[in-house]
């Protein structure tokens, strides 16, 4: 890596490139904080999904399934299935991090998530490997701090708001919004419809296996659509 002094402007540029992403990410973090406060799990445990799992949809699934009383192995399996995309991101970043110190790879890998990869890749493509590291770090650290702060703020606000607001309904609405926004693409549409249908049919499945079954059905249905095209 280049010296940190030389990298300051690239760190700042990476941080700046992350700012537009925060408009969509901070509300998501607030929703997760609210869900942690409303769920039947310790609020600190809900917040800890931030630094430990550090991937929104997986965190939401973990909190929701723990709240619903799912078996521990099912919760962990579902969280990891949702996070399987991280392996692809890891493969994408590996080519830029080859030959870097081990400590850098350990830290940089921890910060891998959708926005940090997008901002990081842009930096590597525009600035090259040396300066790209600083650009990645700047964006990823801003994201990490904002994410954890948003979850903490949501958890504090969510615990003190009156019950008539039905804040627990924010989460299904948020998820429905995310799903509906992805209906335009045929494969995703098929995945969404199949997953929602199986989730409803499998509501009484033991160990809360319904969610994992529904995700598997949705992905299979989506892949079928892609093969037919």
């Amino acid at each position: 890596m280049n010296s940190l002094r030389a990298d300051r402007s690239d760190i700042a540029a990476g941080a700046g490139a992350m700012v537009p992403w925060l408009a969509g990410i901070v509300p998501f973090g607030l929703v997760i904080g609210v869900s942690a406060a409303q769920a039947d799990v310790p609020t600190l445990a809900g917040w800890l999904t931030g630094p430990l799992i550090y991937a929104g949809s997986s965190q939401l699934a973990t909190i929701g399934m723990l709240d619903g009383g799912a078996a521990p192995v099912v919760v962990v399996a579902s969280a990891l299935i949702i996070n399987i995309r991280l392996i692809f991101y890891s493969a994408t970043m590996a080519r830029y991090w080859r030959g870097t110190p081990r400590w850098w790879r350990l830290v940089a890998a921890y910060l891998i998530v959708d926005p940090s990869v997008a901002v990081g890749l842009d930096g590597y493509q525009r600035l090259g490997r040396g300066r790209g590291h600083a650009h990645y770090l700047g964006g990823a650290v801003v994201l990490w701090v904002s994410w954890l702060a948003a979850i903490a703020a949501g958890a504090m606000v969510g615990a003190s708001l009156p019950a008539w607001l039905h804040l627990e309904f924010v989460i299904p609405l948020y998820l429905a919004g995310q799903a509906v926004a992805k209906l335009a693409k045929p494969a995703q549409r098929r995945a969404i419809v199949a997953a929602a249908t199986v989730a409803l049919l499998a509501l009484s499945a033991p160990l809360q296996l319904g969610t994992a079954l529904a995700i598997a059905a949705g992905v299979t249905a989506g892949l079928t659509a892609e093969v037919r095209r």
């Binding site: 991280l86 891998i112 949705g218 992905v219």
Partner: protein
Amino acid sequence: MSTWIVIVAAGLGSYLFRLSMILLTSRITMPPYLERASGLVAPAAFAALAAAGVAAACSGLGMTGAAAPLAAVAAAVIAVLRTGSPQAAILVGMPALWVATALLSS
């Protein structure tokens, strides 16, 4: 106790996913179908969790009681379809829920 273990295990597994290809690196290429499947996991998970969450909110409320959350979901879906913004689901859905709940209980 198991709550903490679950969160730590999910976190550790997620970190290993992040580290996996960086440590194994170079020549391994992912099969294309797995790459396509990874793009479908998030929408499928969102849809499954949303459907289960709405069903949970409606359970035990009876036909009249369930009408408020269902109306809120309908309003949210229409708002997202019309605006193209996922955030519209909460901005429209929550006020719709409060109004429908107030109307049904009056």
